[in-house]
Amino acid sequence: MAQDGADRMIVMRDVHKWFGEFHVLRGITLEVARGQKVVVCGPSGSGKSTMIRCINGLEDYQRGEIVVDGIPLDGDVKHLDAIRREVGMVFQQFNLFPHLTVMENLILAPMHVKHMPRREAEELAMFFLERVRIPEQAHKYPGQLSGGQQQRVAIARALCMRPKIMLFDEPTSALDPEMVKEVLDVMIELAEEGMTMVVVTHEMGFARQVADFICFMDQGEIVEMAPPAEFFSRPRSERTRLFLSQILH
């Protein structure tokens, strides 16, 4: 966990959220330090996705406090814009823009949000396409790529904004099994380079290998938070034990 203030990239304090009557987040408190990797897991409907989507303001919250890299997420539009420039996000359904080529998907935000010249944006895009190992697909449309390739493009697209934090919302859940590894490999490399990451996933192998700590959520609460070794071998809560017994066969 984070110690001094300057290194705390994400701070959530007692965050509550309701969808109508449904109390979906019940007092989330979480701190992520620079360079830390947090894997969030839990049964469906436990609020994992909602929690991660609060960090870049895709969902609002009704109570508590969220501060990202020192910027409070408090309803101020300027703050929201500043946070979104620093936080990249990868979605379960990739959400690439189907009417644009891979290259155009990648240079869109650098050119229009950061006002980067086209040539510079294209060089940056090629750099990240090589990193995710699909430079040869630059001029295809997303619909012409496999799921694994699309998700790697989506990761490259987020990286083109040079984010300080990357959020992954079940990045491999919509993929065919044989494509999961190519996406996880890219994520592992990213983690090894020191990116601050919050990853919602059920890939426990990935969690074991990469996570600094694992955060288990159930019914809108963080039930247990521990380094992987401890989390898998000595889970403290009964709910964690039950969950682990269901997903680890």
Binding site: D81, G88, M89, Q93, H99, L108, A109, Y141
Partner: protein, 369 residues
């Protein structure tokens, strides 16, 4: 795209037995069963009793020569009427010696639009916006005159196909942007914007265009201070534009609703502003989806322009009607109306074909998704 040449596909051909000769085709398609045979003969009979007399009237017995109804055969169409008055169908009562101005303005428009259709045109959108901003004042100057030594021509004398194209052109170029804004307004999270958009759309869609045109020509002057007049044509233009923008808004809204939520979220997560998200991500996809609906609205708008006759403007249909009142051609209304109908059809059919072409081109750009 070049990608397509990688996978040449065999076009499946029908088996040999189905490809032999017109007789086999006839038997297979028209006389395959006893009731198909019956239907074939019924249709042939219907064509015989309708089409044959029409062709006799419109072509065989018709005349193009002559200068009045006295020169026309009793049992044939009198296209001489159309020949003699052709320029009025095109220009209405626009002064004969000034008509070059109208032709010049349309030539300028065609020339100005050529770059939009070049395949490798850089900054196409920007050029289109400049064209939309620059062309109307130039065209208005040429049409109305009054400056640079051009003789003034009152809008009351504008007419015929020329007036139809002016109203339809203005209606089309204003209703699409206005419709997009209204559609975005209707889906806005700001309550006031949303309420105003909904109110406008539902109000305008709830009344016939004729009512709006009447309101514009009869009611509006009552509310203006004495001495202030607004040109009759301008009032009609505003009425037609607002009317079609309400319909356009609903077409565009249909497209917006078809875009998955993930597209909005990905755009927001990348830091795009609301307008950037709409302009770069959402609208290009949404508008592409509703091209048939947009063109449908354009075609409706083009034909609705004929309603301006009611407030005393002589568009193509108005001119056709006016010409039938000329004593020299009395009793030759059918020819005049048929010709006007043909004029409308040419343009509407053209728009329809063009939209099909655009859809095909866009579909080819992103196959396999």
């Amino acid at each position: 795209m070049a990608v397509r040449s990688e996978s040449p596909r065999e076009i499946p051909r029908p088996p040999v037995s189905e490809r032999i000769g017109p007789l086999a085709w006839l038997k297979h398609n028209l006389f395959s069963t006893w009731y198909n045979t019956l239907l074939t003969f019924l249709v042939l009979w219907l064509l015989w009793v309708t089409l044959v007399p029409f062709v006799e009237w419109a072509v065989v017995n018709a005349t193009l020569a002559g200068t009045s109804k006295a020169d026309c055969p009793a049992d044939g169409a009198c296209w001489a009427l159309v020949r003699v008055r052709f320029h009025q169908y095109l220009f209405g009562l626009y002064p004969v010696e000034e008509r070059w101005r109208v032709l010049l303005a349309f030539a300028l428009l065609v020339a100005g639009m050529v770059p939009l259709f070049l395949p490798r045109m850089p900054r196409r959108i920007l050029y289109a916006i400049v064209l939309i901003l620059v062309y109307p004042p130039v065209a208005y100057l040429l049409f109305a005159g009054g400056r640079f030594g051009l003789v003034p021509v009152e809008t009351a004398n504008w007419g015929g196909l020329f007036l139809t194209l002016v109203i339809a052109g203005v209606g089309i170029t204003t209703s699409l942007p206005l419709g997009i804004l209204l559609a975005l307004g209707r889906r806005s999270s700001m309550p006031v914007v949303r309420a105003l958009s909904v109110a406008f759309i539902e109000l305008v869609r709830g009344v016939p265009l004729v009512t709006i045109l009447f309101m514009a020509s009869v009611m509006l002057p009552l509310f203006l201070p004495p001495g202030v007049t607004i040109d009759k044509l301008l009032r009609a233009l505003v009425g037609v534009s607002l009317f079609s923008s309400a319909y356009m808004a609903e077409v565009v809204r249909g497209g917006l609703q078809a875009i998955p939520k993930g597209q909005y979220e990905a755009a927001m997560a990348l830091g795009l502003s609301y307008w950037q998200m709409m302009r770069l991500v959402i609208l290009p996809q949404a508008l592409r989806l509703v091209i048939p609906g947009i063109v449908n609205t354009f075609i409706g708008l083009f034909k609705d322009t004929s309603l301006v006759t009611i407030i005393g403007l002589y568009d193509l249909l108005g001119m056709a009607k006016l010409i039938t009142t000329d004593p020299a051609w009395l009793g030759r209304a059918a020819e005049s109306y048929l010709f006007a109908a043909f004029g409308f059809w040419i343009f509407c059919f053209g728009m329809s074909r063009y939209s099909m072409y655009v859809e095909r081109v866009l579909a080819a750009g992103r196959e396999r998704d």
